[in-house]
């Protein structure tokens, strides 16, 4: 039998991500991995663990906590950190609100999502991090389709989409001065379906809310929002029970869920493969602010 020296596309994506993790570990002094407990950051963590096997992760993880989390996700986060022996930094949006560095929006549609940027940049500064791994994918959003794998951020943490460094072959340029940093996106070339296929193939554990469950929800702006203690109901909104799951997990006030009976990774893969709505289109209220909502937030320092 002749050997066919071919990799499947998942193996290729894995190899590319592993290469990126190792490159950062070899060339930066203080990398950190953003870990929220969401599926992309869980996959990132799995890939990072693979990249440095059998050694432990050579960098800590950072959670930017809006304070509006799903309980299942925080419980999951702490369990993973414990199991893997990770060093966890938590940067709280609440601290910035309390210190008066940011002002919280008021009103029923208020979200802390945008405030995260200030907290994130503070955490990067205080931690002295020079490389920050994020789980953003280019398929998520049109501004992200323009993102480099190594994305330079100036001393204010800002992204200049018109002046990005050319990125060629797998030769990544991580040059930066003190105070500047590089955002690193090892999942750049993964799609939502790739992430789920990998989760299924590798049997990666996720917070339970990614799978079908019953919970009270509210219809708002064409989305299904979970009725949590963080959500203020508008006039005429009536919570009801539905069988749902989450496609993305973030701030509970702006992350929608979808009606689904997919109860395990294989069923989710089948569902994602058939869907004709993007993950952000279905579930992220923050992207609907404007045509360039993501781009504007990224310029400020958001992921």
């Amino acid at each position: 039998m002749t050997t066919v020296y071919e990799l499947s596309h998942l193996e290729l994506l894995e190899a590319e991500s592993v290469h990126i993790f190792r490159e950062v570990a070899a060339t930066f002094e203080h990398p950190v991995l953003l870990f929220s407990g969401g599926k992309d950051s869980v996959v990132m963590l799995a890939l990072a663990a693979k990249a440095f096997w059998p050694a432990p992760l050579p960098f800590p993880v950072l959670h930017v906590d809006t304070g509006h989390n799903f309980d299942e996700v925080i419980e999951f986060r702490d369990r993973v950190v414990d199991r893997m022996g990770l060093r966890l930094h938590v940067a709280r949006v609440q601290d910035d609100i309390d210190a008066g560095r940011v002002t919280e929006d008021t009103g029923p549609r208020a979200s802390r999502n945008r405030l995260q940027t200030v907290t994130l940049l503070r955490a990067i500064r205080e931690g002295g991090f020079d490389a920050v791994f994020g789980g953003a994918r280019r398929d998520e959003e049109k501004a992200r389709a323009k993102e480099r794998v190594f994305s330079f951020r100036d001393e204010f943490g800002q992204w200049d989409p018109r002046n990005q460094r050319p990125e060629l072959w797998n030769l990544y340029n991580g040059r930066h001065r003190r105070g500047e940093h590089i955002r690193v996106f090892p999942l750049s070339n993964w799609t939502e379906l790739d992430i789920w296929s990998y989760i299924a193939a590798e049997r990666i554990e996720l917070p339970a809310i990614y799978y079908a469950h019953r919970r009270p929800v509210v219809q708002r702006d064409g989305m299904l929002l979970a009725h949590t203690r963080f959500l203020r109901l508008l006039d005429g909104e009536e919570p009801y029970e539905a069988t749902v799951r989450f496609r993305t997990v973030g701030d509970a006030t702006c992350t929608g869920c979808v009606e689904s009976t997919a109860a395990n990774p294989a069923e989710v893969v089948a569902e994602v493969a058939a869907t004709r709505v993007t993950e952000r289109g279905a579930t992220r209220a923050d992207d609907r602010i404007s045509e360039a909502g993501m781009e504007d937030r990224k310029k400020e320092g958001y992921f």
């Binding site: 596309h9 290729l12 490159e23 398929d139 050319p166 072959w169």
Partner: protein
Amino acid sequence: MPQLLRLATAGSVDDGKSTLIGRLLFDSKSLFTDQLAAVERASRQRGEDYPNLALLTDGLRAEREQGITIDVAYRYFATPRRKFVIADTPGHIQYTRNMVTGASTADLALVLVDARKGVLQQSRRHAFLASLLGIPHLVLCVNKMDLVGWSRERFDEIREDFRRFAMKLDVTDLSFIPVSALHGDNVVHRSASMPWYEGTSLLHHLEEVHVASDRNLIDARLPVQYVIRQGGRDFRGYAGTVAGGVFKPGDEVVVLPSGLSSRVAAIWGPGGMPVTEAFPPQAVTVQLTGELDVGRGDLICRPANRPHTGQDLDAMVCWLAEAGSLTPGATYTIRHTTAETTAAVQKLDYRLDVDTLHRDETAKALALNEIGRVQLRTRKPLLFDPYRRNRATGSFILVDDTTGNTVAAGMITGPALPASRVVWHAAAVGREERATRGLTVWLTGLSASGKSTIAVELERRLVAAGRPAYLLDGDNLRHGLNADLGFGAADRAENVRRVGEVARLFADAGVVAVASLISPYRADRDRVREVHERAGLPFLEVFVDTPLEVCEARDPKGMYAKARAGEIRGFTGVDDPYEAPVSPDLVLRPDDPDPAARILTLLNRSALWE
């Protein structure tokens, strides 16, 4: 197990590229309804009465406002057969920089032409860049066939026009597909409007094109990226992405630049999966036998198949920065595989006119988007292959040290041959009758001086250049021809005599005999020279002048240690003399960045081939 195909698109917006991408996504059911709704909404706001599919790919605010594409966007779609990554590398402005960026990782380039306009400058530029970047597959889509009445004649005309131009390029696989992106003809589905076209639709072609064989599976290369240590398990592994060839546990390997040899003890895939064969572009961790000092920037390869090692190299570079230009004398940080050092531009050989392929040798600098050939000298030797042979070990970027920006992309064409100070006195007579001219290169020096390494490399390059060559290795010949000989003075003389005779026969037959032998006694070597001169055959004595301390420190076979311990008697350099050549044709020292190249220079300069 669907495969991944990376493609780069090119051609100006007016040629219908965005529409083609939109059509590919739409007809392959890869476009999401909310994306389409967003495009329809945005198109309406702009007063356009049809969904402008260009808005799918122009993701930045400024791009939408100005109706131009500023930067590369990456798009993803899939069919049951394959996954696709499209690097959408557009733009009238900054075309070269974007094309180079998006195309550096592409397997296939898709160039669009407007059937009404035919092959324009832009099409030629992009085809040239695809060829320069070593993209093996090129598809020319002749678009807007509906606007030329689905004319077969027009398609044939454009195809012939482009084919003539492409003959000057290095494109291995060229395809032509007549399409109408607007109507979807031959994009995903075969067209009923062009029954004369017998080929496949674009999508079908993209699904079927065979890309796996485009990788180099011959020259084993593993640039060490990161050293993984785990004290608790006493684990020390060298992590990296295989850049070429195939590695297996048990393989004999050599670590460059130290030249230390070892063996692959184990190979681990990500997460500790045992790997029986590692090939590009797998990310692996390799354990070697023995205690070695190996670090990032080193390269693991096979002993008989090494990359070039050198500080002087020739390269094609594309200047990517708006600020400044590339000028001789300037220095940059060079990033090549996992190595980083300083590079100085020694010389700008020429600037290439991308449209005419004319070489302007009077050019003094390379400005934004300009491409030229340069000679670089690096502070530390690089371990490289020509880009055409290996994209991973043949590519580099230059980084400006003040701004930190990536200012140039480079593709190595080969080592720059330094000028030789050795004068050759030609003595060749009577060889004109043969198809090729043979000669003997005789490498002499202490054990572990590096003779064999140089000889192997010399043979490889000669053969690669089309010269018949054959390596006569002293150690190897002792297994056969000279198996009956020992290491006493008389047997050594006989050993040298026999190898000398075999070399003469090869040289006479028109082959370059590369002999690698300690041959410690001057008289023995002189006799071999006489034999050659009597036969009218060139004989080059090359002295690999590596100091005894260095050889002893290397000691790959542990021979010096045994000799010092008294286990071996009569070992050259320890308790037996080595008589250095009095007037060798060439002396090579350990700090020579590329000794094989020096020998080749000598051969070329002496015109021994003619």
